[in-house]
Structures are given as structure tokens and as C-alpha cells.
């Protein structure tokens, strides 16, 4: 399983890989928002947690269709399915690799970008924590969506339509935790629910992903 993770990370970093794609999209969106909204720091500071969360969600969405499509095209997905590695484990590792190449860099970059949106000083910590807890769920749900659309040509649009509604709870609780942090309220309730969503997706979706892949590989 570690071999699959290392291979995916290596592929993402090499030329033509997905590493940096989500991160640069995130940077661009967050840098553009103050130009669009105007230089009112009070307004920016109020919408900053939401903007950062929506931007990271869309950035994660950007590279989802690569998770299985490339392996499907060159035949390695079918070979993986016949290998001793359980497909559930492969699905888990694929999601983990996607998170390390997308969610983790976003989480690390978010506080720096929060400065551009004049994020409230109290919110930095909770923004970081909420992204750290929430973005793995984005990768796991996205992996499931990628498995659903793996055999389709131009499945990217369908993938977005399928996955975005499933992202809503993560977005709500993630942005809520960061917002409560910035308002000086107790964000623990939202963080616990966010953690619950992430734990739930990682417990259930590898199995759903593997079952979906088996159907799509027929």
C-alpha cells in the first residue's frame, strides 16, 4: 500500500503531475478576491474564512478527475485490481495521496493568504485546524466521485455535479469553525462535527469506492 502512495506522490511531483495545480488555483482565487470586493478591510475580514474555505474546496475539486482516470487509461487500474492489494486499500491510499498533494499544501498556505484577506488574528489558528481536519474529507469524497465517473469520457462535469453537494456539510462546518474563531466564540462544536464527517468518510467511502471501481471495471 505504501508503494502505491509513494508512486502517486512521485507521479504528482514529476512533470505533468497534479502537484501545485490546486495550490496555484487557490493562490489566484484568494489574491483576486480583494480586487473584486474592494479594499474594505472590515468586509474582507468578515468574509475571509468563507472565501478561504470555498477556494480550497474548489482547488481540491480541480484535480479530482486525475485520481483514477490516468490509471484507467493506461491499464494500471485493472492491473491494480488483480494485484494482492485490496481495492479498498488502494482507494484509501489514492485519497491520501490526493490529500498530501492538494489538501496539505492548501492548509499550509491558507494562513499566509489569510493575511491578504485581513483575517482576524484569532481566526488563524482555527482556520488552520479546520482545514487540517476538513480537507481529508474533501479528498476522500472526491476519490469516491472519481471512481463513479472513471470510465466516462469528459466525466469532469459530472464529477463536479456529483461531488459538490457531498462537500456541503464539510464546507458548512469548516467555515463555521473558522468564523466562530474569528468572532471569538467557541468553535469546538463545529470542529467536532467536522472531524466526525472526516472520520465517517474514511471509514465508509473506501469500501464504496472499491465497489464502484469493481462495477466500472467490468
Amino acid at each position: 500500500m505504501i508503494a502505491l502512495l509513494l508512486r502517486d506522490l512521485r507521479l504528482a511531483i514529476r512533470a505533468g503531475g497534479g502537484f501545485g495545480l490546486g495550490l496555484s488555483f487557490f493562490l489566484i482565487v484568494v489574491v483576486l478576491v480583494p480586487f473584486g470586493v474592494g479594499p474594505e478591510t472590515e468586509l474582507l475580514s468578515r468574509i475571509a474564512p468563507g472565501i478561504l474555505w470555498v477556494a480550497s474546496l474548489l482547488a481540491a475539486l480541480l484535480s479530482l478527475d486525475r485520481i483514477f482516470a490516468l490509471d484507467f487509461e493506461d491499464g494500471s487500474l485493472a492491473l491494480l485490481a488483480t494485484s494482492p492489494l485490496p481495492l479498498e486499500g488502494a482507494a484509501f491510499m489514492k485519497a491520501l495521496a490526493h490529500w498530501i498533494t492538494t489538501g496539505l499544501p492548501l492548509t499550509i498556505a491558507a494562513p499566509a493568504l489569510g493575511f491578504l484577506l485581513s483575517l482576524a488574528p484569532d481566526a488563524y489558528f482555527y482556520l488552520l485546524i479546520s482545514l487540517l481536519i476538513g480537507t481529508p474529507a474533501l479528498s476522500m469524497i472526491g476519490t469516491f466521485g472519481a471512481a463513479l465517473t472513471v470510465g466516462l469520457r469528459r466525466g469532469g462535469l459530472l464529477l463536479s455535479l456529483l461531488v459538490l453537494p457531498l462537500y456541503v456539510p464539510t464546507l458548512i462546518f469548516g467555515a463555521e469553525a473558522a468564523r466562530r474563531g474569528s468572532d471569538g466564540l467557541d468553535p469546538s462544536g463545529a470542529l467536532v462535527l467536522l472531524g466526525g464527517i472526516t472520520a465517517g468518510t474514511f471509514a465508509l467511502l473506501p469500501f464504496a469506492t472499491a465497489a464502484t471501481l469493481r462495477i466500472n471495471l467490468r
Partner: protein
């Protein structure tokens, strides 16, 4: 392991395969590959297929090569996934030693195919299902592959089911599927599987 896996694929032919499936060699082999190689990804249409779990492997037209990984990284990956180590001889056997640090994307079709077949030498599976393994190989490479099959794979108790258009020169029984070839359509259409 000295146990020779038992394979009953062809016995099932007499017991009522769907004639359409048998008629097209390409589809047939792909079907066999799907049922057996994919550990039940595809339910069997008829009959039973028995061989030890986790002893089957297949190679079809897609070699599963990552273009951004080097030849040796590609092979190492499959060895790790299957929990085997990379045999020292495999690069020489498939004439890949000079290419081992080249990226998969820079290989020619024949070189890619050799790399795809070298995977079979790495993963140590006993039952191989091969759908036209010699496509895009030159005469010398075909001989390399046939030598590996005969002297390494079969000699160590392995078995291989191969769909092929050329004579590999193996000492093995052949199953001629041409009697089951599907009749051309009444309108004169051709069967895609034979194009």
C-alpha cells in the same frame, strides 16, 4: 512453489459457453481474462473456473506503464505491490538493461510492450492470461519472450493461456477457435474482432 495450478477454462467450452462469446477470439480471451484474472470482477457466464486465489495475472493491450516513471521504477512498483523483489535477471531477459533509466513515456511501442511483459516476470504469478502478448514486438523480442515463457515460467511449474496470431514456437497444446468464429452478418459486415 511446485504446485501446478489447475485450470478448467477450456473444459467449460463443451458445457455451453455462450456461442457469441466463444466466437470472437478477442472477446473470448478478454472474457476469460476478466473472469479469471480479475478475481471475479466479471461473473462467469457458464461453468466454473478453478485455480488458486492470487495465482493469476494477465496482460492485455494496455501495459499499465506510467509515462513519468522510469523503466526500473515501473517494475519496482509492481514488485512492491505484489510483495516480491525485483529479480536480477529480469532486465536482461527482456532486453531492458540499457533502458532502465529511461522514462516510460519515451519508450517505443515495442519497448513498452517488453516492459509490460517484464512485469509478468517480476510479480511471480503462476497462471498467466495473455491477450496477444507479441503485438508490436519484433522477431528477436518475440523469441526473448518465448524463451522466458518456456525456460523460466513454464519450467518452474507455471501455466499460460495465450491468445495469439503467430506461432510462438512453444511446446504446448493449441486450441483453435476458428470453428467458433462468428458468421459474417447477412448484410456483409465484418467482425470487428478479426480486423
Amino acid at each position: 512453489m511446485n504446485v501446478c495450478p489447475k485450470l478448467e477454462v477450456f473444459d467449460n467450452r463443451q458445457r455451453g459457453f455462450d456461442p457469441i462469446r466463444v466466437a470472437r477470439i478477442g472477446t473470448f480471451i478478454f472474457w476469460v481474462v476478466d473472469v479469471t484474472g480479475n478475481r471475479g470482477l466479471q461473473p462467469a457466464i457458464a461453468g466454473d473456473i478453478n485455480y488458486p486465489e492470487d495465482e493469476g495475472a494477465y496482460a492485455s493491450h494496455a501495459d499499465g506503464i506510467k509515462t513519468a516513471l522510469t523503466v526500473i521504477e515501473n517494475l519496482k512498483f509492481w514488485a512492491d505491490i505484489h510483495g516480491t523483489s525485483l529479480p536480477d535477471t529480469v532486465l536482461d531477459t527482456f532486453d531492458l538493461a540499457d533502458l532502465k533509466n529511461r522514462l516510460g513515456g519515451t519508450l517505443s511501442a515495442g519497448q513498452k510492450r517488453r516492459l509490460g511483459l517484464a512485469r509478468l516476470g517480476v510479480i511471480g504469478r503462476k497462471v498467466l492470461f495473455l491477450d496477444e502478448p507479441t503485438v508490436s514486438l519484433d522477431g528477436f523480442s518475440v523469441k526473448l519472450f518465448a524463451d522466458w515463457l518456456q525456460n523460466t515460467h513454464l519450467a518452474s511449474g507455471g501455466i499460460a493461456v495465450i491468445a495469439t496470431h503467430i506461432d510462438l514456437g512453444l511446446d504446448a497444446p493449441e486450441l483453435d477457435l476458428s470453428p467458433f468464429r462468428s458468421a459474417p452478418e447477412a448484410t456483409g459486415g465484418t467482425d470487428e474482432a478479426f480486423l
